[in-house]
Amino acid sequence: MTTEFTWKVGGAQGEGIDSTGEILSTVLTRMGYYIFAYRHFMSLVKGGHTNYKIRASVEKPVYYHGDELEMLIAFDQLTIDENEQELIEGGIVLYDEKFEAKSTRDSLRLLSVPMSNMAKELGNVIIKNMVAAGASAYVLGIDPSNFYEQIEIQFGKKGQELIELNKTAFDKGYNYVKENYADTHRPVPKATKPSKSNLLMSGNESIGLGATLAGCRILAAYPITPATEILYWVLANLGKYGGKVLQAEDEIAACIMAIGANYAGVRSMTSTSGPGLSLMMEALGMSGISETPLVIVDVQRGGPSTGLPTKTEQSDLNEALWGSHGEIPRIVLAPTSIEDCFYQMINAFNLAEQYQCPVIVLSDLLLGMNKMTFPDLDLGRVKIDRGAVVTQQELDALEKGAFKRYEVTESGISKRSFPGMKNGRYCALTNEHEETGLEIEDVPMRKAQMEKRDRKLQTLRRDVNEWGYDYHGSDSPETLVIGYGSTGAQITEALEQIGGGNVGHLQLRCMMPLPADGINKYIGQAKRVVVIDNNFTGQLAGLLKRELGHHDKIETVTKYDGNPYTLREIVAAVKG
């Protein structure tokens, strides 16, 4: 017996597709199911096509929304056109009676439900979402009481009348399908409700939560899809801890405000997507040479330029690794799941202050805007390390004006002071500078400062081999599959599907510094190295070739149509 199921609702933007999906996601999570919810949408407010897919499992968390679809709610014909190929043989389509549904696939069951009409009768067109929820509930065999509970929570503040209206709409949809298409009833396996309810969270929320617990108290950002929800979450939560959020005039200002705030001693960040990251390139250099900590979250979307604002891609890797003129030390992290978004933010703020350099966290739309259910986050992993900061006693012991903010040390790391600390004065400089921060052009000091800044990452280059990647599979794999960030979900599942074989899976969590020793351990023995790149030019494969060689073994798999990898595509690539 299968332990999972898939469901999708689709229609025009502005029809409440997301809210229909959200209701079901919430109900299923509360019932104990593990869901992954995927939003497909377009860069417009009304019209076009949007859909919301849920994959639910009884057993364990799912990290991907699945290749297949069992049931579709269609508010228009376009929804059928766009999604019929995804449906399984015999898949059910419940469509709004207001249009005449057609499908090129005979095996599908197209069943009309008067969703719009019922809503109209109830005097509220938008309530067709609740009709659709009721219709879905009958097919999935979910007891209506679960939905009633959700309706009461969701509309509780708005009064009894609205609660009753929603319940009635739900019942109408439920009963209509029950009376007309009783045979569609295919109850899904029951989930066991956990003692402590699970978390339902998006990657963007996970980033916001992680930043807040990491001690971030200032976020400056400019609205941009698919990163704006980070701004929303932080805005709703940071204020009660005295944190501040500023919507800047552009990404240049946002990033530089975060640098200014870090300079003054507050953990600060900015969040953006590709076009914003491009505008932050000069700020990246500013953080690098002035040795001011900085955390940038880049929720990648389809590029180049405005590109595909509402679609996913991993094509900002090169820019994150090499962008900005000149050469600076930097750290580039890549969360591999929605949970990992949280842990990587804790990591990012610590690294930024320990190494006094910019840290870029490369998320993407797939992680950022989609939600999943999982049991918990390990709060024991929340540790704050502010790095090397000079104490007031140390400053008092110095001669007046003798503090060397840019002291050339063996580790390359020099202690920071903050405004307000007596005798800790320095001028942070974007020019090359000597140890106290005066600009210079003399040769030995220039070389000493460049080398000092590079030296800072020495220990990290070693340590990153401990945590910079996840590895599963054979100790000496014949075929090694490498991905970074969000693709971990599909690669893991695809390899489970293939089963057996001498295969290994290495998923990178840190792109710079690259955990070279760790990768080499597996790459050396492999005959084939399949690199999964969600971009056109194979940026990850390029990085591995540049840093590790093995040109003859590395096969590049690319995808750049805006959609996440399917399991089918990865299976095909790995089978070769």
């Binding site: 939560l209 801890y241 501040k244 405000m257 000069e282 004006g401 921060g437």
Partner: protein, 287 residues
Amino acid sequence: MATMADFRYEKATWCPGCGDFSVLAALQQVCVKRGLEPEDVVCVSGIGCSGKISQHFGSYGFHSLHGRSLPTAQGIKMANQDLTVIAAGGDGDGYGIGVGHFIHACRRNVDITYIVMDNHIYGLTTGQASPTSKKGHKTKTSPGGVGEEPLHPLQLAITAGATFVAQAFSGELKQMQRVLDEAISHKGFSLVNVFSPCVTFNRVNTYEWFKENIVNLDEEEGYDASDKFQALRRVYETNSVCTGVIYKEDRPAHHEYVLGATDQGTVKLPNEMPREEMESLLDQFRR
């Protein structure tokens, strides 16, 4: 009590006679007079000759990027509102590449003082036209004379919502000190545009030229700096060549109205959170 010496750091490298020396001196004098300690002041500058001021001012400093002194300064003030934050730069820096930030800093009313050393020319890059170069001014990049209208910083600041707008002249140190003192004590965004002649690359807008043309509004009978329309009219009538406190109003500063406003600097708040508080944030996500 801090002295002038506490606000000095190495000798500035400007050309002899550069107007920026007076700005640095006036700023140092005002800080001493106000009883500020150098560790409680941050001077943030952009790029250009005037941008070097942060290196030679004895407070904390950030010599930032071309056009980006204002975002840097606003970030610092957000982090620690207890600091006195001065942003400084030139006309190219503030009104060319950085003009977008300028307009938004005015409307945001962040409590910082922005000093623009306005010499109507790009000095450090050896003499190109700037946004405030007068029409017809011949420079390396305007061999036939500047064709564009000059930008009018005072009008721009007033209409963008700045709550304190003043103009001073490097040849009138006493007035500059007075204006700077008032600007620093003003709660909210204050602009002090200073005519700071470039003795090397601007042979048109010289000390003499300014002396001959400046109208001192501080001495003008009946001038009311709280009257926005009068301010705009007089700036227009004097072709922007006027000095004094031009416009002033009271409005809540950013650190007072921002969501999550605190009585003390953000930097003084704890980073760590009690376990129960972390749990309560997680509970938001439990359904």
